[in-house]
Structure formats: C-alpha cells, structure tokens
C-alpha cells in the first residue's frame, strides 16, 4: 500500500504542477472533507449493524451460521479457530445480500484475529481480501435503485448477468489465490 499511495500522490502532483498547481491543496482538503462525510455515514451504518450483530451473536445465530458454512470456510481458509470462522461467515453472508458496509466491521474483526503479527499477510487474510473484492452478490440493491431512478423499464434485468459475472470472478479469485499460494510456498523452499 505504501508504494501504491506514493506513486499515486507523487505522479498526480507532478502532473498538476504542469497543468493546474492552484487546485492542489483545495482538492486535497475537499477530499478529506468527503472522507469525513463518508465516515459519518459509515458511523451511522456501523452503529445499526454492530448493534444487530451483537444481537445475532448473543442469540447464538452466528454460531449456527458458522456451523453451516464451516465446510466451505475450512476448505477456503484452512483455519481452525472458532472466532474468525464466525466473523467470516457473517462477513460472507452480508456481502451476498449486497450489504458491503455491514460486512466491513466483521471483516475487520476477522482480520484482527487472523493476523499473526509477522507483518506479512497470511494466506487466510489474502483469501479474505480477495473474497471481499470479488464477492458473490445475490442482490445488487444500490445499482438496481440507481437504474430505477434513471427511468429504466426493467431495472432488475441486470440481476442475472451480475450473478453470473460474480460467480465467475469469485471462482477465478479463489483458484488464483490457491495457485499463487502454492507457487509462493515452493519458492520459499
């Protein structure tokens, strides 16, 4: 991330010195303001979902969900620790419903537990990142909403292609992670 961020910032700044040096500070502060607004919104979203999550947890439903998804999670993540398993199960379920923002707090919790403190991402963490980047969406609610408000006659006819496309990327992502993991391990030896 350090390298990517450095390249993005320095590259754009070099460009802007040529084209429009006056707007640099303004657009940076504006963006930070946007980030603040987004954070406020997220705070509201998280308050609702973390509250709901606590109820889900207290009623034992998350254990049940984790049990249901355990075979898949075990296969994908190769972990044997109940707490992250539970969080991953909830994270994946929220993602499938198109609730990306609700999935985030659980993903963060799971990551915290998966971290081994070595500074290098573990295979399970990489899997979680890729799964969250390619997650299967049963209902792309936001997109359908936008389409409907733009005057589409059949706003929901994108559900099927979206579902098919996410299934493809999801499978591809998992296969690539497994493949890279194998190559990486061999290199280390």
């Amino acid at each position: 991330m350090n390298r990517i961020w450095f390249i993005m910032i320095v590259g754009s700044l070099c460009f802007l010195i040529w084209t429009d040096p006056a707007i640099v500070l303004n657009s940076m502060v504006d963006a930070a303001g946007e980030a603040f607004k987004l954070s406020l919104e997220l705070c509201a979203v998280y308050a609702v979902w973390l509250g709901i999550l606590e109820i889900v947890d207290a009623s034992g439903l998350s254990d049940k969900l984790a049990k249901l998804l355990r075979p898949i999670i075990k296969k994908l993540f190769k972990i044997d620790d109940k707490e992250p398993e539970k969080m991953i199960a909830l994270n994946m379920s929220a993602n499938m419903l198109g609730l990306g923002n609700a999935a985030t707090p659980m993903g963060i919790k799971a990551m915290k537990r998966l971290d081994d403190g070595s500074g290098v991402a573990t295979p399970a963490m990489i899997m979680l990142i890729v799964i969250n980047s390619t997650s299967i969406q049963l209902l792309p609610t936001t997109v359908i909403g936008l389409r409907a408000s733009a005057g589409s006659l059949t706003p929901s006819d994108i559900i099927l292609p979206t579902l098919l496309a996410t299934i493809c990327t999801f499978t591809l992502g998992i296969c690539l992670v497994k493949l890279c993991h194998k190559i990486f391990r061999r290199k280390k030896k």
């Binding site: 991330m1 993005m8 910032i9 590259g11 754009s12 700044l13 460009f15 802007l16 084209t19 657009s27 963006a31 930070a32 980030a35 603040f36 987004l38 954070s39 705070c43 998280y46 308050a47 973390l50 509250g51 999550l53 109820i55 889900v56 207290a58 009623s59 439903l61 419903l97 990306g100 985030t104 707090p105 993903g107 963060i108 990551m111 915290k112 971290d115 403190g117 500074g119 290098v120 991402a121 963490m125 990489i126 979680l128 990142i129 980047s133 390619t134 792309p140 936008l146 389409r147 589409s152 006819d157 994108i158 979206t162 496309a165 996410t166 990327t169 591809l172 992502g173 890279c180 990486f184």
Partner: protein, 168 residues
C-alpha cells in the same frame, strides 16, 4: 420484492433473540457503542485513499490513461465509454456510483452501455478501499499477491459483464 427481505429478517431475528431470552436492547447498545471507535480508527485510511483519488482525477491522469488504454479495452470488448469507470472502480465507491449515474443519464438507463456499467459495478468491489480498511487494525505491511489477484478478477469480471450483456 427485495425491499421485504431485510425487515422480515430483522423481525425474525428479534423474535428469535426474544425466544432465546436475549436482552435485545442491552445487546444493541453494546454493539452500537463500538461504531464510533471503529470509525475513528479507519478515518485516516479512508481520507488518505480519497485524497489520492481526488489528486489523480484532478490531474487528468485518469482521463489520459483512459485515452491511452482505449485500444486495449476495446480489444477486450469493453466499450470505451466505460474505461474511466473500470479504472476508478477499485479506488472509490461513491466516485464510481457518480460515474454510473452520468452514464445512465447520458446513454439512457436501458441502453447496452448502461447495462454493462451496472453489471460491472455489481460484480466488482472497491479493492483498494476494502483492503486498506480491512487491514487497518492489523500489523500487516506486505500483502504479497492479494491486490494483483483482486485486480485481475475485477478486470476479468468487467470483460465477462460486457459479454453477458451482449448475450442476455
């Protein structure tokens, strides 16, 4: 139809929790309390990535890249009108939704281009944003192959999306 899913799930959850003798109110408070520290923790990560994206867009690099990459994208079957969307999607959620709205109003909500844009957004994620936020509470500095794989999947997803929109 889809509007009913969440309320029904919530009702089921609350009834189930009551049946399990959980104090819903107390639990909700306990969970909601965690939202503010969490947001305070992740705010700098969100801000840093949004600043980088803002500079990138203001500098015109994305427009230039879109122009340079147009032959490659059209060879892959992605309409040239959507290149900026595909390029910005991994970085910003709100930005790409704003772009989608532009596409919808310019080309009409039911056009091929609009449907492609919708499916591309539906099947991809804000990879850099998700990654920075997810690892913000860990000590991880090296992500190895996580981001390249996510990006490849996102690109393949866009290609498949455009293809599917042509068939279906």
């Amino acid at each position: 139809m889809s509007a009913y899913i969440l309320p029904v799930l919530f009702i089921a959850l609350f009834c189930y929790a009551k049946y399990k003798k959980v104090n819903c109110y107390d639990s909700f408070i306990k969970g909601a309390k965690k939202s503010i520290p969490l947001v305070v923790e992740i705010f700098p990560y969100i801000a840093s990535i949004m600043i980088a994206v803002a500079l990138l867009r203001a500098s015109g690099i994305t427009a230039l890249l879109a122009h340079l990459l147009s032959p490659i994208f059209s060879a892959l079957g992605i309409p040239t009108e959507l290149i900026e969307l595909v390029l910005l999607r991994p970085f910003t959620g709100s930005g790409s939704f704003a772009l989608l709205n532009d596409v919808l109003t310019t080309y009409g909500a039911d056009s091929y281009i609009s449907r492609c844009a919708c499916v591309i957004l539906g099947c991809s994620e804000t990879i850099f944003y998700v990654t920075t936020v997810y690892i913000s509470q860990t000590k991880v500095k090296k992500l190895l192959y996580a981001i390249p794989i996510a990006l490849i999947c996102s690109l393949v997803g866009s290609i498949i999306a455009c293809l599917l929109c042509k068939i279906i």
